[in-house]
């Protein structure tokens, strides 16, 4: 059943490999970027009333730096996704018709491609990068003791939540991609999606910094599961119960949004005839 999606899984992995030059450059320069962010946070903590050792919204500066580093690695490994653009191109060039007559689901094709990309990124970059980040941060004392039985459970939950985050990201990209049917172009939608995710997932700033009302609202939205929750699970800031709840919430959102995407697509596809093929 799933076998026919294998070529797309492969294609996603292959594409990811093909641009190793870009990926390596990206990785190198990301380090510079993280360094800059680290300095911003150091300045924030130094400027705080309690000085450098203050705890701001539950984070010490050590935890905040760990958060920044891990979020960056996470984003790099997990959000390697061209779904929205590919749908947009299919709509603009009229090639979407080609897929509709093939015996595979349009949605499944993108999910498989993204999954292939995620697997490749995790193997090639995720394993060494997470290992290096955890080793360095751990030895600096920025992370709690990574003693094994406890950490192992968190690591497993982190991998699970990472997979969920990647799937959720693909679902959201797909929904925004399908919305291109209505706007005829993906520029605006893409930047809207990126902004929405960066802000509400806690990539820009941990949600703990948000004012109470907004924080409550965001915590039941799907976005936190795309970045903040996996990272807080890995950092063991969430206990196992909280972690499981976070993963379950994300999984529930994936199901809900997939259903929504299905409805949206069947509505949108009626517009294909208007666009012409």
């Amino acid at each position: 059943m799933l076998k026919k999606y294998k070529p797309f899984l492969r294609a996603g992995a292959m594409d990811t490999m093909a641009y190793r030059f870009n990926i390596l450059v990206w990785a190198v320069i990301t380090v510079c970027q993280v360094a800059c962010l680290v300095f911003l946070w150091l300045a924030v903590y130094r400027s705080s009333e309690g000085g450098i050792d203050a705890v701001i919204h539950g984070f010490t500066y050590r935890e905040m730096i760990s958060y920044v580093v891990l979020t960056t690695v996470f984003g790099f490994v997990t959000f390697n996704n061209d779904t929205l653009w590919n749908i947009n191109t299919d709509i603009k060039k009229g090639t979407i018709g080609n897929y509709l007559i093939k015996p595979i689901s349009y949605r499944g094709k993108f999910a498989a491609t993204s999954l292939g990309s995620l697997l490749m990124m995790t193997l090639m970059f995720g394993v060494p990068l997470y290992t290096a980040a955890l080793a360095v941060l751990g030895s600096l004392g920025f992370l709690p003791d990574l003693t094994f039985p406890a950490f192992f459970a968190h690591l497993a939950l982190f991998l699970l939540s990472g997979l969920c985050a990647s799937l959720l990201n693909d679902t959201i990209a797909y929904i925004f991609g399908v919305l291109c049917f209505y706007t005829s172009s993906g520029w605006g939608l893409n930047s809207l999606k990126e902004t929405l995710v960066a802000f509400l997932s806690g990539t820009l700033l941990p949600l703990a910094f948000f004012p109470a009302g907004l924080r409550e609202a965001v915590s039941i939205m799907p976005f936190a599961g795309m970045s903040q929750n996996p990272i807080l699970i890995l950092m063991m800031k969430y206990d196992l119960a909280e972690s499981l709840r976070a993963v379950a919430l994300t999984a529930a959102w994936i199901v809900a949004l997939e259903l929504f995407a299905k409805l949206l697509f069947s509505h949108a596809i009626r517009k294909v005839t208007v666009q012409g093929g």
């Binding site: 992995a13 292959m14 490999m17 190793r20 603009k92 060039k93 009229g94 090639m124 666009q275 012409g276």
Partner: protein, 334 residues
């Protein structure tokens, strides 16, 4: 005038291992294999000629066209377009050539067709009077006037190709390169495109180089063909000569009674090859060696033919035969 001399293009392609482990290996070391897409070809196209540039997929047709346009740099050898090297002085050459890649449009996708032409007018610095004259001519021969105000993305494939052809001719290029201009078109559109190329060639003396897989295109349009295989030219000359190389080959297709079969039918001469296709007998022979009359008599008398069709060998068959011969020679060498 196009002068091509000893033209060679070698692509370096990374050798990819198969499967995931192969890909991982590629990441750390990369080996290249050399592919000679075009291998030491030479030809000259005088002004006003229509040349069919043909050969199987991957023979190096598009590569040659791209080098002649200046968007690929030859590995060795030279190309002169009216005395200028396209890859060195691309911009200068661009003013005098028109290009259509059948698979890709050079028109702006989102805007009414006429707006694309207005931009091209400025890009090629076409004077107003010339522009009006060309638009009238192209509007007529390609029949594009009807959909000038429609955005390109709403055009059908045939309409888009005609629009693309018009766009490539708007600046009155001296040379037109058409890479598969009739690919995917229906018969009527093909006909229209051929007529337009003829009209352009007659009216303005435009030199045309076209690649195609449609042999009717070749027979309708080209006085000369260049046949390419594995990057090498295996025939360059007039269409009539190519046919003559095979002698005056004719085929008779006969409707015969059910009991007559190729294997058991009486034989007239070893000169006449008898085969069976869809329940009909097909006789192939060289009319210079054995008179047509004699074969026709044999068909009615000995084979009891009830109906008959006489045909000259088609250019498609000729090309097919040449390529098969080449293939066989290659096989022998190996």
């Amino acid at each position: 005038m196009i002068e091509v001399k000893d033209l060679t293009k070698v692509f370096r392609k990374p050798i990819r291992g198969s499967g995931l482990s192969g890909m991982v290996k590629t990441l750390f070391s990369r080996k290249y294999e050399e592919v000679r897409a075009v291998d030491g070809i030479s030809f000259t196209v005088p002004d006003g000629e229509i040349v069919g540039y043909i050969g199987p997929n991957g023979a190096g047709k598009s590569t040659t066209i791209k080098m002649m346009c200046g968007i690929l740099t030859p590995t060795s050898g030279s190309i002169l377009i009216d005395g200028t090297e396209p890859c060195r002085k691309r911009q200068q050459v661009a003013q005098h050539i028109g290009v259509v890649f059948g698979q890709k449009t050079q028109l702006w996708w989102d805007i009414p067709l006429i707006e694309s032409f207005k931009v091209l007018k400025e890009i090629y610095q076409i004077p107003d009077a010339d522009y009006r004259e060309r638009m009238a001519f192209l509007g007529e021969v390609l029949d594009i006037t009807r959909f000038l105000s429609q955005p390109v993305r709403t055009l059908s494939l045939g309409e888009r190709m005609r629009a693309d052809l018009a766009a490539s001719m708007i600046h009155n290029p001296r040379i037109l390169f058409l890479d598969e201009p009739t690919i995917g078109m229906d018969v009527l559109v093909k006909e229209k495109i051929r007529l337009a190329i003829h009209a352009l060639n007659r009216t303005y003396g435009t030199t045309v180089v076209l690649t195609t897989h449609d042999m009717t295109d070749i027979e309708d349009l080209c006085s000369r063909i260049i046949l390419l295989e594995k990057g090498k030219i295996i025939y360059d000359g007039p269409l009539t000569d190519l046919k003559k190389r095979f002698g005056n080959i004719k085929t008779l297709t006969l409707t015969v009674p059910a009991e007559v079969h190729a294997g058991t039918a009486p034989v007239l001469s070893p000169e006449v090859a008898v085969s069976e296709e869809d329940g009909r007998l097909v006789l192939r022979f060289d009319a210079d060696r054995i008179p047509l009359e004699q074969v026709v008599q044999y068909a009615f008398r000995d084979l009891r033919a009830m109906d008959m069709k006489i045909a000259e060998i088609s250019i498609g068959d000729v090309v097919k035969t040449i390529l098969e011969q080449q293939e066989a020679e290659h096989a022998e060498k190996v």
